[in-house]
């Protein structure tokens, strides 16, 4: 059994292996900020705006909930998804809802260039039939002929709002993932966190997991085992 000193040495070694990017030029960037008479919402305040947007998303999503949603027992945020669970979401039960098709579709490389988060492919499904990016550039969607649909968005802000009777916690590569085994309601959220009513639709079985800072949402007529296998095959698009 190794001595505890081995543990301390190894922890230190682990810390040292981390690169420290961004130190070069920090002095100039800071001094330039001090020259500004009033801090303006530039690069350095971007995250702050995003934090506010996330907070707002929660408040607005709650306010937007109609009285019938009073049955909703609980909600939580998972990556870019707000999940509400309750006794009844009013949607028909059963998994038989086909995901909406994508048309006409862009080559994946073109679509990926339009978004600010890392985009992933599912190796197990091969080439996509086409990809599209939402008008606000926050969601990238891919589809396969007759197959499932994959939506991706940044985990740093909420883009989807789902209401379901129940949800199951599963695991993809050791990280928590969510499985919706029944049809449920999904609606897109805009940048301010408000629901976009015309995007509301019933969704079929869906697996949600995260890779890096990207949240992936796989929807289709799949069993949990099939969905997990596809999820494990995710590779970053280059």
């Amino acid at each position: 059994m190794p001595e505890p000193t081995d543990l301390l040495r190894d922890l230190t070694e682990l810390g040292r292996s981390l690169p420290t990017p961004g130190a070069a030029g920090m002095d100039e960037a800071v001094m330039a900020r001090l020259d500004e008479p009033e801090p303006s919402p530039g690069r350095s305040t971007r995250f702050r705006i995003r934090a506010v947007a996330i907070g707002l998303a929660i408040v607005l999503a709650l306010l937007a909930a109609p009285p019938v949603r009073a049955a909703v027992a609980d909600w939580f945020g998972f990556g870019s998804v707000v999940v509400r669970t309750g006794d009844d979401d009013g949607s028909p039960s059963g998994p038989s809802v086909a995901p909406p098709p994508i048309s006409p579709g862009l080559p994946l490389g073109q679509a990926a260039a339009q978004v600010e988060f890392d985009v992933f492919e599912l190796r197990a499904l091969g080439e996509t039939a086409g990809a599209e990016v939402s008008a606000d550039g926050r969601v990238l969607s891919m589809a396969w002929d007759g197959g499932p649909r994959l939506d991706q968005s940044s985990s740093l802000s909420y883009t989807f709002d789902k209401t379901a009777r129940s949800v199951e916690f599963v695991s993809v590569r050791g990280r928590d993932a969510l499985w919706f085994g029944d049809s449920h309601e999904v609606v897109l959220l805009d940048e301010s966190g408000a629901r976009i009513p015309q995007t509301k639709r019933p969704a079929g079985r869906t697996l949600i997991w995260m890779v890096g800072d990207t949240t992936l949402r796989l929807e289709g007529d799949l069993s949990l085992a099939q969905a997990l296998e596809l999820a494990e095959s995710a590779r970053r698009h280059r």
Binding site: M31, L156, D213
Partner: protein, 193 residues
């Protein structure tokens, strides 16, 4: 020349002297403080979960520190004070991101990704041991993990860790020894599973 703590060797100006100059109106002197402490500030933000936003967080922290320099207590060390501001800015990043547990999961997930991507070419650490360490850190309770990250992964001293975590120094000490015992036990379990 200076040590990794930002303390100067052989006659270079101390942090306290630079702070005094900035307060006396020599604004440009602040750039030297930024250069000294940017690497540690960036590592701290990264490991506390700022991930790709570490640069933004640290830049913001330095701007805030400058604005608050009037409240800085003469004679106290600059770095813990700065790191406290960095920590607050990092936490602001995840403010509102759902429940606390979800926030902490997101923060550690980003840190883990960083560690996974920093696969060193030459290391005294075998990749098996490295993976076991990362996996065990993941399973550690959040506060236990935080103190281990501060003291060993970041290499901060007790006072700096106390500033970053917002705990009394005694708590840093007691929680650290408990966290290390747990970590060691979990690691043995994992390696022999």
């Amino acid at each position: 020349m200076r040590t990794r703590n930002g303390e100067p060797i052989n006659g270079a100006e101390t942090d306290a002297a630079i702070v005094a100059r900035v307060r006396a109106g020599d604004r440009e002197a602040y750039a030297e403080l930024v250069r000294r402490h940017a690497p540690t500030a960036l590592r701290t933000a990264s490991l506390l979960g700022a991930g790709p936003d570490a640069e933004d967080v640290v830049q913001e922290a330095f701007v805030k520190a400058y604005a608050r320099l009037g409240t800085f207590r003469d004679g106290s060390p600059f770095r813990p004070w700065l790191l406290r501001i960095v920590t607050n800015e990092t936490h602001n990043l995840h403010r509102g991101a759902g429940r606390r547990r979800a926030r902490e999961q997101l923060a550690w997930a980003r840190t883990e990704r960083l560690l996974a991507e920093a696969e060193p070419l030459e290391s005294a650490l075998s990749s098996e041991r490295r993976e076991a360490l990362i996996g065990t850190l993941r399973r550690l309770a959040e506060r236990d993990r935080q103190v281990v990250v501060c003291r060993y992964l970041l290499g901060l001293d007790e006072a700096e860790s106390a500033a970053v975590l917002g705990w009394p120094r005694g708590t840093v000490k007691s929680r650290l020894s408990r966290a290390l015992r747990r970590l060691e036990a979990m690691l043995q379990e994992e390696l022999h599973a």
